[in-house]
Every structure is written in structure tokens, then in C-alpha cells.
Amino acid sequence: MTNQASSASTRKLLQNIAIASAIFAVILCVLIIVNFIQLKRADPLNSKVLTTLVERLHANQDDESLRQEIRELDLLARKAFFTNQWQVRMGGYLLFVSLLVIVICVKATDLMQKTLPDVPSADRRDFWHLRKINRLWVIYTGLFIVILSLLIVLLTHRELGKNLELAARGSSEKEPAAGTDLNTRTTPGTMPKGIAADSLKADSAGTQAPGNVLAGINPDGYPSLQEINGNFTSFRGPGGTGIAYQKNIPTSWDGKSGKNVRWKTEIPLPGYNSPIIWKDRVFLTGASETRREVYCIDLNSGKILWRKTVEKIPGSPAQEPKVISETGFSAPTMTTDGRRVYAIFANGDLIALDLEGNEIWTKNLGIPLNHYGHSSSLIMYRDLLIIQYDQRGSGSVMALAGKTGEVVWKTNRSVKISWASPVIIHTGKRTELILAADPMVASYNPADGKELWRINCIEGEVGPSVAYADGVVYAVNDFSKLSAIEIGDTPKLLWEDTDYLSDIPSPLATAKYLFVVTSYGALACYDAKTGTKYWEQELGTPTFASPVLAEGKVYLMDKKGVMHIFMADQKYTVVSESPLGEGSSCTPAFAEGKIIIRGNKHLFCIGK
């Protein structure tokens, strides 16, 4: 009896020890997890305070007290870090010991309290029924696994193997050095499956493509300045300065009634890029989240001569970047050198096609780290394709060989993200490539990418491209300022103004005047050299398109699709206001006697 009582009290004691240990273990577990989370979050060497102090020390390196403060903080942070580590480890040991105590107590209690086994009740479920249920469960599990596998395949399948094989073949042909030019795929004389097969001759019935535009052209060459000015080769025309050299441009039309509308063609996919023109062909792009296309349209008939789906480009990301609706997936305007056309999309896909729509090369530059979506347009300098790629953390401008896509030069830029497009100017002494991005307007030699000059005069999320006329570059951005910069090896600010600041439309300059348009529809004219404001107007409609000068008149399209045409003069003289019949956000392109305007859905040819 005494033995039984003693055994019972021992059991009780062991149970209590086990319970106490269990509570201790639970508390320890919580503490370890909390400590672990702290440890994960802590980065003693990169704490904000420390970084700020170090930056301050860089600015003032002789500050001994600051130096000492940094040392002490650093030591403190490290101590805290290693103490945390020690606590986690020690907690682990204690947890182990407490668990061991629980196990020992429980096992000992079990040994002291032998119980007789129960005989299960006889009414077990039918043996055959159980077997049947087992079979069904195994079948269901199998089906579940198969469906799950196929679902995973559906969600993750990306033809990785084929892409790698293609890339291996492509890169072994070019064999770039490790880390450079990784994603280029050149296909001289051949058309890869994915793209070539899709090279549709849309609406080909009864339509003969105009004569071979490549006939008699040296594919290795590049157009003369005269040829470039005779066409409309990039965003805002030749050089991107907003000046069109074409004549007999219509000044009045009505999209609804069809007055002076020569043709109107629906563009399959949306895009905010502007059309470009080479001879009798108009080129533009369209894209949705899942599809990217390049279109070639006959200038005379408006027929789509070919459309090319851009896909399966090595390195092209599986997921499209996030863009805002005002930018879309194909905001950058194409460019051409008369041999090939070039297009870039929001995901960094870059493609070069000949004028018949055959792929020459493709490349992916990596998703532009850009919270609105990439919008910087392409431009040509001789046979070099210039790309402004100012993205978060890695601003750069590069030139690719138009024929092969190889990087000819690349210049890194310490700038923030920019949505502006590059502009090429001819000063008389030299040709310069002008770029705008926070914090500077900078000039580069387009032949080798070397910086010629820079001036810090612009801030914020730069959208407008620069304007240029008569040795002066004009840069503007919203919440920043309008600056007139007299260029040269040591550029200087001629004047500044903060009244009319644009965040999307680019300014337009002539030797005498500067026209600034804001996206909310205000318009101002300045004296180009002094900054004196001649006049200001409210259009009453938001405006995203940039103004273009043609035959002494400024053509400015507002978002409702009304083209405001006024004289490039000291006084605001309206020539006409012509409605397109649908909204537009794109800058028009000009050909002899014609204007090509991209509306929200259609491409219009205005001509007499």
C-alpha cells in the first residue's frame, strides 16, 4: 500500500516536472522565434543611422567626433547582433534539454503506469468495404497528382529548353564575352520560327506591295542628312527636334466628314508611339500585355503591308512589366535608317526588321526598371541605333550596330529614371546626342558615346525631350524649371523660367521662338534667346502630343483629337483647328503633302 502511494506521488511529481518543462519549452520556442526574426531583420552594417552618419563623414572627413560616434554605433550594432545569435543558440540548447526532460518524465510515467490493453469492439467495418474505399482514395490521389502536374505545367511552361538551345546557337555564332551582350540573337539570312512564321501579309488579297524599297540600297550604308530630312525617321521627326521639312502640308480637315482624310486604317493593337515614315511606308507598333506587333502600312493606300509579331526573343521576360495606362506597352516610337526599322517595347524587347518585315536581329535589354513603363524612343545616328535606357539604378545610353545589334558603345549615366527621348543635333561644328534626365542635360558624341558636356538643370521624373535651335538647347520638366542652355564645351544657362512646365509634351524651338506646351493644355511662346514671354494660351484640352513645326506653322494635337495649327510667330495666330474624329495622344508624322496621325484606334492620312 505504501509502495503504491509512493509510486503515485512519484508519478505525480514526474507529471508536474513534465508540465513545467513543457511550459518552459513553449516560452523558449516563442522567444527563439522572436529572436530569430530580429536577427533576420537586423543588418548591423547597413543600418540607416549608420549609413547617414557615414555619408556625413564622407562630406566632412576631418570630423573626429563623428568618426568616434560611428565607431561606437558600429560596435553597439555588432554586439547586439552577436548577442542575438548567442541567444538563439543558447535557447536551442535549453529547448533541447527541456524536451529531453519531458521525454524522460513521460516515458518514466508510462513505465510506472502499465495499463492493460483494450480489446477492440468486434463491429469493425467490413473488410471488403475498406479495401474498396482504399482503392478509390488511391485513384483520387493519382488523379489529383496528374491534374496538379498538368496545372503546374500550364502555369510555368516557358519553352525554356528550346529558348536555351536557340540562345546557345545564337550566342555561339557571336560568342560574346561573359557578361556582355548576352541576349542578342542574330539571324543573318534566316528567319527564326516564332517570328518569321508570323510574318503575315495582312490584307494581301488584291494588294501588291509597293516596289522593293531595298532595291539599289547599300545595306551597309546609312542615309544622308538630306535623305533623313526628306523622311520622318523618328519621334518628332529627323533628329527628334520636332521639325518637319516636308511641303504642302494640309491645314484643314475633318475626320468625321472625311474632308481631306485620304485613308483611315484600324491599328490592331494599341500604342502611344508615333508613326515614322520612310518613303512610301509608315511604321508603328502596337502592344498589349501579351502581344507585341510591328506594322508597316502603305502611305498611299493605308493598307497594312505586313505585321510582325515580336515573340520568343531570347531573354524576353515571361511576365510583362507593370505599366500605367497612360504609357502602355509600346510607348517608344520606332526609328529607321532606310535599310531597317527598329522597335522597342515596354519589356525591353528590341527588334530590327528589314523594310519587308523580315527579322534581322532581336535582343532583350532586360525589363526597364521604370514604374510608369518605358517610353524613351529610338533614334539613328548614321548606322547606329541609339537607345536611352535611364532606368532605376542603372542609367545608360548605348549605340547598337544597326546591322547586327552588337553593342558598339555604352555609356553609363548617373541619373534617375527618364522617359525622355534622345535628340540628335547638328551644331555646324559637330553632331551631338542630347539627353535629359534628373539631374542633368548632357551631350554625347554619338559616334563613340563620350560625354561632351553636361549641366545640372533638371529634376524630377523627366518626360519631355529637349528642343534645339540655333545653338541653344531647351529642357523642361514639371516641378522643375524651363532652362535655355547655350551649348558648347562649357555650356551656360541663358535663361530660366518656371511659369509653364511640361511633364509629357516636349518643347519646340526655332531660332527666334520657343513653344512650351503643358499636358493640361496650356501653351506659351517665349523669346528663344531672352526668355521673354510673348504670349500664352489655354487650349482647354489636355495635350500629350508634342508640337511639330512644318512650313512655319506649329501643329499641336490635343487629347480630344483636335489639331491646333498656329503660326510660329511672336503673336498667337490660329491657322485652323481640325478635328480627327477620335482622341489622340501621339505626335503626328509628316510626308510630302500628308500628315499621318495616330488616333486612339485608327491611323489617319490627312492630305489633299
Partner: protein, 425 residues
């Protein structure tokens, strides 16, 4: 004399420990300014050769002892004590490596990669338990495997899961085995080691994820006996198969079963085969039809498994280092806007041609294509066999341990009222 002998043994043991000094990593790991963090190693420090041989000897002796305890002594206490000792030696002292479970991968890699030299210890740890199983059933699981031992230790109120859950969850080890072989054969990774829940506990350096995993297994192990052994262990698949052909296997009763039913609920692993009613069996014609159906369905399962898994080959290959690097090079922006990965930085400084990376990755993906067909066929076959097994009934009159799934833990023996002494008398 006795005192001197103890002293001598102590000195000998301590001297042997000094051998480890020769084996350990003598240079500290470098620290990188770039912030690169050395990945956790899957293996503990190198072990001296003599100690490695000692491990093999200890394993063999432990298996011999436990087989004797199971088959001759029929002692649950003996099995329990051996398992505690094994836990201390193979678990905490040997830090869970080399283990027989992980050795599957070394053996596989050695078969597919001629440049891989497999250590003798690994072969021994893989083969010796299999040999013992062939002779004496799964005595390795009973008390030599440290993974089983630690789970057995925490098993307090084990509940029966029911045949349905057992049937479904019991499929996981086959999947795990197939995947680990695929990854090892392609030189991708040793996933059994990487996702080993207990090794972090043995080494006191578990990552948070693995600590959590182990915690879940051990806590659930209080109520579900040996969850890892039953529903994950890939080595268990091999042992299960071999044990079915074992020369001798533990029995619940030392003599004829008296069908007292006392042992019926004693096995926490549901590894006791109940007497199968011989009367009123399922209609023979129906059973035959089902059997024919299964025979036809097995090839279908094999093909379906092969096809659906082969579609996954690119996803499965994504884990491979070469494929991962090539993918990063092809899609450099998938790094969530962060600067380029360390892999790309390292690659750039290597001077290796890009085409080589792409070609190698492409070759790996082809290997995965073939491998995932084989894996899928294997899984399909397993399903087919399990279904067929549900139809083929071996009638039996006694309560017997299932030779495949029984861990020989000897719990049921304690429930049997028939004792060896009574048999002798």
C-alpha cells in the same frame, strides 16, 4: 586492474577523438565584401578515416544487437535502449551524417557521374542495413536509424490514422524517392539532405524553416507515430520492399496465435495484418474482372504518369544550378529589380562563354526530360501496383506483422499474453 582497464579505455577513446583534428577544415571560410553568404553545408566536417571505419563497425554491431534483441530476446526495452544509444551516437555525435537515407543519392550520383568518387562509408551505410533487412526485417528502423529513434522517443499518444490516410500518405515516399534519385542522377542537388528535418537538430544549427519542419514532425509525432518514417522516408521504400523477402521476421506471438485480439490496436504504425475473413469473400468473378482491369490499367498509369511528369521537366530542372544561371542570363530582369545575382557576377568574372552555359543548361534540361519520363513511369507503376495489391487478398487466420511496413519496434509483443517461457514449458 579494473580501474586501470577503465582508464585505458578512456584514454583510447579520447585519443581516437584527436584524429578528428586531421580531418576538419583547417582554414576559415572567406568572408565576402559583396554580402555573399556561404550556403549551409549539407555535410559535417571531414572525418578521419579510422573514425569512419569505426562508424561502420558501430553500425554493424548496433544492427546485430538489435536484430538479436528483436528476434531472440523479443525485448521492447532492449530495442528502446538501443534506439536511444543510436540517437546519441549516429544522431548527436555523428551529426546525422553519413546516413543511410541520404546515401541513396550518393549511390545514384556514383552510378551516373563517373567523376564522382563515392566514399566507402557511404556504400557501407547504404548496403549494410539492406542486408540486415533481407535477413531480419526492418530492424534498422527499429532502433538504429537516429531519425526513427528521435520520433519514437516523442511518440506519446499515437493514434491510428485509418487505412485511407495510410494508403494515400504512404505514396509520398515513392515520390520523394523518385525525385531525389532524379536530382542526384542529374547532379542537381541532394534534396534528401537539403530538406533533412532532423540533421539541424542533431547539429544544433537548424535553419528557421528546417527547425519549423522538424518541430511540426516531432509535435505531430506525439500523436502520429513516426510521421517521417512512414510518410516521407525514401530509404523506407527500399527497406519495405526488401523486408517482404526477409529470411526471418519478428512475430507478435512466440507460438501459435490464440486470436485474443489484445494486440489488434497495439501497433501505432498500422502494421499488423489482421486475419482476413475467408467466408463470404468478394464475388470471384467481380474480383477477376477488376484484376484484368488493373492489368490493363497499369500500363495506362505508367504512360499517364510518364507523360504528365515529363511535361514538368523544365520546372523540375529549374532547381539545377546550370539551368538557373542560364535562365538568369536569358531573363536578367527576373531578379525583382535587384542588382544582378551573385551567380551572374561570378559568371561574368569567369570569362566562360555564354554559349557554353546555354548548351550545358540545355543538356541538363534534356536529361531532365528523360529522367522525368522515367520518374513518371515509376510513379504510375507504383499506383498500379498499389491498386492491384488492394485486390489481391492473401487469406490469413492470425495476427501477423506486415513484413513490409513493420518497424520491428516490438510494441505489440508486450501485448501478447503468450510468453516464450510458456511456450518452452
Amino acid at each position: 586492474m579494473k580501474k586501470n582497464a577503465v582508464l585505458l579505455i578512456l584514454i583510447l577513446v579520447l585519443t581516437i577523438q584527436l584524429l578528428n583534428v586531421y580531418g576538419v577544415q583547417r582554414f576559415p571560410k572567406p568572408e565576402f565584401e559583396s554580402g555573399y553568404v556561404q550556403p549551409d553545408t549539407l555535410q559535417p566536417d571531414t572525418r578521419a578515416e579510422l573514425l569512419a571505419i569505426m562508424d561502420i563497425v558501430v553500425l554493424t554491431v548496433a544492427l546485430a544487437v538489435i536484430s538479436w534483441l528483436v528476434l531472440k530476446k523479443r525485448s521492447r526495452i532492449g530495442v528502446f535502449c538501443t534506439s536511444v544509444l543510436s540517437l546519441v551516437y549516429f544522431g548527436f555525435y555523428r551529426e546525422g551524417c553519413v546516413c543511410s537515407i541520404g546515401a541513396i543519392q550518393n549511390i545514384t550520383l556514383a552510378m551516373f557521374d563517373e567523376n564522382y568518387v563515392i566514399p566507402l562509408t557511404v556504400i557501407a551505410f547504404f548496403v549494410i542495413p539492406l542486408i540486415f533487412t533481407l535477413f531480419f526485417g526492418r530492424t534498422f528502423c527499429a532502433g538504429v536509424c537516429p531519425f526513427g529513434a528521435i520520433q519514437d522517443l516523442v511518440s506519446y499518444k499515437p493514434q491510428k490514422l485509418g487505412t485511407r490516410l495510410n494508403a494515400v500518405l504512404g505514396l509520398i515516399p515513392y515520390l520523394y524517392l523518385g525525385l531525389s534519385i532524379l536530382y542526384a542522377a542529374t547532379g542537381t542537388d541532394f534534396i534528401i539532405c537539403r530538406y533533412d528535418p532532423f540533421v539541424g537538430i542533431f547539429r544544433f544549427d537548424a535553419s528557421f524553416g528546417m527547425f519549423l519542419f522538424a518541430g511540426i514532425l516531432l509535435v505531430s509525432g506525439i500523436f502520429i507515430a513516426r510521421p517521417y518514417c512512414r510518410f516521407l522516408c525514401p530509404y523506407g521504400v527500399l527497406l519495405n520492399f526488401i523486408s517482404r523477402f526477409s529470411w526471418r521476421h519478428m512475430t507478435i506471438t512466440p507460438a501459435a496465435c490464440i486470436k485474443c485480439r489484445l494486440c489488434e490496436d497495439s501497433c501505432p504504425y498500422d502494421a499488423i495484418d489482421m486475419p482476413v475473413p475467408g467466408k463470404n469473400p468478394e464475388d470471384r468473378a467481380i474480383t477477376l474482372r477488376k484484376l484484368i482491369l488493373i492489368c490493363l490499367l497499369v500500363p495506362f498509369f505508367v504512360l499517364l504518369g510518364g507523360y504528365s511528369t515529363s511535361r514538368l521537366h523544365e520546372t523540375l530542372a529549374g532547381v539545377n544550378g546550370k539551368v538557373h544561371l542560364a535562365k538568369s542570363l536569358l531573363e536578367p530582369t527576373t531578379n525583382n529589380g535587384q542588382p544582378e545575382t551573385f551567380e551572374i557576377t561570378a559568371f561574368k568574372s569567369s570569362g566562360k562563354p555564354v554559349s557554353q552555359v546555354f548548351s550545358e543548361a540545355s543538356a541538363v534540361i534534356r536529361q531532365f526530360y528523360i529522367g522525368s519520363w522515367i520518374l513518371g513511369c515509376f510513379i504510375g507503376l507504383v499506383f498500379g501496383i498499389i491498386l492491384a495489391r488492394q485486390l489481391i487478398i492473401a487469406y490469413q487466420a492470425d495476427y501477423t506483422p506486415n513484413k513490409g511496413t513493420c518497424f520491428s519496434c516490438m510494441r505489440c509483443v508486450d501485448y501478447c499474453p503468450v510468453t516464450p517461457e510458456e511456450v518452452k514449458s
